[in-house]
Subunit: 186 residues, 2 copies
Amino acid sequence: MASSAGRPRRASQELLQEAAFELFQLRGYRSTTIEQIARTAGFSRATFFNCFSSKADLFWLETDTLIAALRESLDAQLSGENPLDLRSALLRFATGLGSDRIPWALQNYRLLEASDDLVASGASRALELNWAFVRYLQQGGSIDPIALHAQAAATTAMLVSALLGWIDAGVGRGDFGEHLAHALIH
Amino acid sequence: MASSAGRPRRASQELLQEAAFELFQLRGYRSTTIEQIARTAGFSRATFFNCFSSKADLFWLETDTLIAALRESLDAQLSGENPLDLRSALLRFATGLGSDRIPWALQNYRLLEASDDLVASGASRALELNWAFVRYLQQGGSIDPIALHAQAAATTAMLVSALLGWIDAGVGRGDFGEHLAHALIH
DNA sequence: CTATATTATTGGACTCAGTCTATTAATTCG
DNA sequence: CGAATTAATAGACTGAGTCCAATAATATAG
């Protein structure tokens, strides 16, 4: 078996992330160096780059799995009998979403302002969502491609806007689905 | 007079930009170093940072003046007698816009994919537009703030989507206003 | 038990962006 | 001519990200 050969793994994304978030809260994202993160977790800088390809990727770890879940949910819709329209499919996914499943990175999204690489990597996540929505709309009725891309982009923007607004609402915020329903016009 | 004292300026943003775009087309954005740009224009790396605070700022120079023009146009609307709604105000601005006034950077927006700092700086331009739209909508009717922010975000996204689609349409593309009218739903 | 293959960890060198400081060069004004 | 002012520059520094060579820890084959 190939998985049990060679020197066993000691480092993991989770261990590094744990150390990183502690330091981020202490000194902020920007002034926390990769060297510090790695050493705090008990590893070397080189090992950090065995687990993550950048400091920003570490930041988005949990968010990426949430996005993957959303994409799977959309795929499941499409392969079902009567797929919902995009708006309804998003609302269904959002309704099941408790405050406790929101990634640390999203809860602390204000950190984004502090660093260029965070903005860039955040934007690339938004673009990934956008492509998923484009594909979803393409499966539905055949619209003018310009309008289709515009609608996907609008949906992405409204989703992100709603998410950040919901997070800003603080601990007393209700269900995300309800909040999203207000934002997703048409 | 303070403007005529001291050593006269030789370097300018325009000179550096000219050299940069030539190199970008030759070797791409990422593999063109600031040192190369500065030396090609006949200056030192240090002087580059007297004119631009980053490599990305150089890229967006013309685009920033276009955005400023749009913002002025919106401000003029708001201070007039009967301000148009946001959609109409954007369409009016877009209609006067010929292919020749599109910045080099936007025409070559595919370079964005090559580099993180370009994505980040592009995203910050989009956010700037978004804030302008938020302010514009706030002057109009008083809507639910969630819906207002969502609509501003949607408008920003549709505008960018339409712009890139229009650029992709190539030399035969018609007026931008017409293209934008298809994308700006509701 | 020993040799070997395999994989993880590490150190170190390198490039480039961006920041900062001190120095030098070119000009105007008194 | 000298002083003040401002531009250009060199050079050192930090930190991200890449790359490679060396080493350490395991499994397995002989």
